[in-house]
Symmetry: C2
């Protein structure tokens, strides 16, 4: 097994030897300052790429340090593995060899088989730590989850943040429990057969505690992102900037046994070079996977509907394994809520959902009224496990004015329908923590900065944003600790009433998905989607490609009312699941359990029903 | 034949009917103002895309007009076909149907067979017009040229400009002779079997007389180009911006019978959309070509060494037909001049040239010291006619401090060597006007703006640029008419002395290239390149893929001195061309006419020699 070599940060081995490095090509001198246990300075030497380094022997594993630039300014290590005292204080070395991994037998979960669960460590539990999250893994396992996706854990300023203001891409949030806490969580996941996906942010660096700024070359004025200057992925000196982030990806896989990375907002990673950062990242992760005989995945968040991102390099693509399908969410959300503000303007028909079920995107080049331009290209040729779908996620919930979950917006019947349309989709499903029992706490936007001007800016920006999108009301104060506390899951709720029923509903659907090949073998199943605009119903026939026998029919009725439909064909179908059943606190069955083609039948409003084919009436 | 429909500009048919259009979605009202022959205003109507239009009958073919916006500001038509009185005055309609084309039998020249000649209309002749250029077409024909490439003719401010400050992408420069002049030139070219390539600028609009600014949506702040704001190819409303430029391409092909477009600096066309402007442009031109049963080419200038630009859409490429190989130029130039300033830093070895002869690019991912980052990707799989090569061009000459041509920098022997390395390259050769007889007038940077602040800015910018690149001297004043006049060709020189010999040398090499299949069939020839760093010599063996017999050996000696070399193998070769011959004013032959493998032989300094295989000594 080849050990990755890192060009940044402090790399400590348990014999007490530690190599410190910093890429700072423009400086005249860089010194290592050991802060604890004993203050002292060490000269560092610059190599021809501008990487300063020094190796010390016999240092203690709780050593803290800074770098002194040009005999003047002292900064923490921007590639620090641990900021035990927050973003502005000395960095602490980490002995990765000390951790006793117990996950040798875990070989990962195939992407097509994943049932993902997006989780924010700070609000997942009362304590808001990796350790306390571990206590709930058995609950997730019993729900059927086999992959948790952690919102960013890279060190951010303060103790409360979604994670997208991270400023130490290699650091593990101190308030969550630091490096050791994350490793224990991953280890416990792997022992239970649960993969861990980590959300990483390679498109910007947060606004407070960002010591990369002063080092030069990390940022560019050539492009603009919504969060400030773009990272320099294609200008002078960009090779080392790329390396900083590519090594970061490998670092998570190698030091923390992370199974997959979710790449935040790749549309804001601007790279006009002939070999883009994303291509190089995909190649590097692929090389690492081959060396370690275990597949690691890259999953992009992308606002481009550009299949180039997920196509293989041989077809001119970037070779990213999968991407989130925001379109799938928007289709579902608008059908259920009838909302039309912001980007929801572009959605709202059964046709949109049917198309996304067929092609991964709703927009493959059509004009978008929200974007005021044509949007997307065709994803034909891509595999179904290249799309991750969800009916809620941190953005779609948290970027609402009040951070309302779907449970605050639609009826119980609609929640069940949303769950089914996501879990039984022909793509990879992802739950957002708490949705499985209809959590009614909001998930709001919260920060914990120390810079007052910045706090004011964030408050104003948030208000400004909502003036355009939601047009009414005042968003909660992001800096207020109450906003954070209000967003925590209320685990006790899952034991009661409809929460409990919904949880069982999710568990059952996940079990159906996992145990029924027409649902689980998404890459080899024929999916025949029939969207009926008038009735507001989507009828899906699924059949394994090499199997004329086992077929399943799914009827999603987005109509609030009972509808009457009729199927063409010659088959007879028998219902095996119905969300309107009394078992699921539905209004009780309104339609017969046997469905014959060419005979009209009724389906309850806002319901999902599943049928097995029982016979073909060839002589009809 | 399907007539293209244009969404911008004035489209006049000879029955006196004219449709005027302007895309200006944000305005409350747009009126057409007829200026001549009789001032009058006409209301225009807006369609759902924001295109204002009105159709008038019975108008005279010399009508001039403006648009009045919001009953207030009057502007010329940014899509004007003719600014007969310059950039700030009314637009004039053009009756394209009036022109009597005589080129029905011209079916174009295949890209792989082109011998291109880059030409700046203003300085090509004393008069500096299309009409006067026509007088020299027979000279070019006799030289062997079958494609002229016109530097941009889109209307620019004043009467002197390279053309890259154009502000009317649809206008034909009035001082060159306007639309009719261009048509006559193209017609005369086609009658002689000469194709016309037009240089078009889709990455920015010039700084004076740019009335697109006030219309909104044409530009974006998201990206920066060296020449100001980038054009909005991917933001809100970009569909119509794309259309403006795509229709522009079709307009040149359709109304002026242009055969190919050279796309200026595509690396400054920023488009992060899922379907980029360049892809759409290539598709549109391809569609036009198929409809008209005649191939039209797109040739990109690109600073990216990114083969994605010239790869087909099926391989994730943009589908542009070919690109300039700046690398080829830089390799040649540095070998001949030993210059190391600016981007020449990255070149200078025989290995660079050999590599570019093999792969089209010298840099396919290697680190560039000039760019301070890795540069390029592999072009393997691309065809040889997808690269256009040159030993000089307007940029490489004109962007020098004093605009010196190669003839002012190197010896006569080196000029011949440069010519041969370009004309006999396995790519598509392009001459820069005047190089064929070693013109010694410079080609300097000149403008003719009317805005004094702008003129001062240009002067300062030019000086600043040179402070970094050439480090010494003062560049000529771009606004001074003397700078323009100094840059004109001196046609009389070609009759005398070495100029005349060089001209004959070019003619002979072009003839060899055209008449010898191993030189002309670049897409089906095996090219075996052997770069010998120590001797500073490149030896190329060329052989048709399906032909074991006819092989040609080319020896390019970049060494100033005579070198002794030896070839491995078993063949005997007979020389049929030698630049050191007295016929070419060389020092006379210094090597034998028969070359046997494994026997050392000598080659004159700075020479090119060509050999036919005459036997294989199998029993040696």
């Amino acid at each position: 097994m080849k050990e990755p070599i890192f060009n940044n940060g402090a790399h400590y081995s348990k014999d007490g030897n530690c190599r410190f490095s910093l890429w700072a090509p423009d400086f005249q001198s860089v010194e290592l300052k050991i802060c604890m246990p004993q203050e002292s300075y060490f000269l560092m030497k610059k190599d021809n790429r501008g990487v300063w380094s020094v190796t010390l022997d016999d240092i203690s594993p709780d050593t803290t340090y800074k770098f002194r630039l040009n005999s003047d300014r002292e900064i923490p290590d921007p590639a620090s593995h641990y900021q035990s005292n927050g973003v502005h204080n000395p960095s602490q070395i980490v002995c990765h060899e000390d951790f006793r991994w117990e996950d040798r037998s875990f070989r990962g979960i195939d992407l097509s088989q994943m049932i993902m669960y997006e989780l924010h460590v700070g609000t997942f539990t009362t304590a808001g730590t990796f350790e306390s999250a571990t206590e709930y893994l058995d609950d997730l396992l019993s729900l059927g989850i086999n992959a948790i996706e952690l919102m960013p854990v890279a060190q951010f300023p303060g103790s409360r943040n979604w994670g997208y203001d991270g400023v130490y891409p290699y650091g593990v949030q101190n308030s969550y429990g630091g490096p050791d806490g994350l490793k224990k969580l991953v280890n416990e996941c792997h022992k239970r057969g649960i993969a861990v996906i980590l959300d990483v942010v390679y498109n910007h660096i947060g606004p407070e505690g960002n010591y990369l700024w002063g080092l030069g070359h990390y940022f560019t004025n050539n492009y603009r992102t919504p969060w400030g200057n773009a990272i320099n992925f294609d200008g002078p000196m960009s090779d080392s900037v790329k390396l900083f982030f590519i090594e970061n990806a490998i670092y998570w896989l190698d030091r923390y046994h992370i199974d997959a990375l979710r790449l935040d907002a790749v549309h804001a990673i601007f790279d006009y070079g002939a070999k883009t950062f994303l291509e190089q990242l995909a190649e590097s992760v692929d090389r690492y996977s081959r060396q370690h005989r275990k597949k690691h995945y890259l999953i992009a968040e992308s606002d481009l509907n550009d299949s180039k991102i997920i196509k293989p390099a041989t077809l001119g693509g970037f070779g990213i394994d999968a991407q989130w399908s925001d379109d799938y969410h928007h289709c579902l959300h608008t059908l259920l809520t009838a909302e039309t503000s912001g980007y929801y303007l572009d959605f709202g028909t059964v046709g949109h959902l049917a198309r996304t079920m067929r092609e991964g995107y709703a927009y493959t080049g059509e004009y978008s009224n929200y974007r005021k331009r044509s949007h997307g290209n065709s994803a034909i040729g891509c595999k179904r496990d290249q799309f991750v779908v969800f009916s809620q996620n941190h953005d779609q919930v948290g970027n609402r004015l009040m951070g309302e979950r779907l449970s605050a917006l639609v009826s119980f019947e609609a929640l069940k329908l949303a769950a089914a349309a996501m879990i039984l989709s022909p793509y990879v499903p992802m739950l957002f923590m708490g949705e499985e029992y209809g959590e009614d706490a909001p998930f709001q936007f919260f920060v914990n900065f120390s810079d007052n001007a910045l706090i004011e800016n964030i408050r104003k920006g948030r208000k400004r944003e909502y003036r355009e999108f939601h047009k009414k009301g005042t968003p909660p104060d992001p800096q207020d600790i109450g906003t954070f506390l209000r967003s925590k899951l209320q685990w006790e709720k899952r034991q009661k009433g409809n929460h409990k029923i919904l949880l069982e509903f999710y568990r059952t659907l996940i079990k159906i998905r996992k145990e029924t090949p027409v649902f689980s073998c998404i890459n080899s199943v024929n999916v025949d989607v029939d969207g009926r605009e008038k009735q507001k119903t989507v009828i899906i026939k699924r059949q394994l490609s090499n199997d004329g026998v086992s077929s399943v029919l799914c009827i999603f009725n987005f109509n609030k009312n009972t509808v009457q439909i009729s199927l063409s064909g010659v088959e007879t179908w028998e219902r095996f699941f119905y969300s309107a059943d009394a078992e699921w606190a539905g209004a009780g069955s309104e339609s017969s359990e046997i469905l014959s083609c060419n005979e009209p039948f009724t389906i309850a409003g806002l319901s999902v029903s599943l049928y097995n084919k029982i016979s073909i009436n060839v002589f009809r």
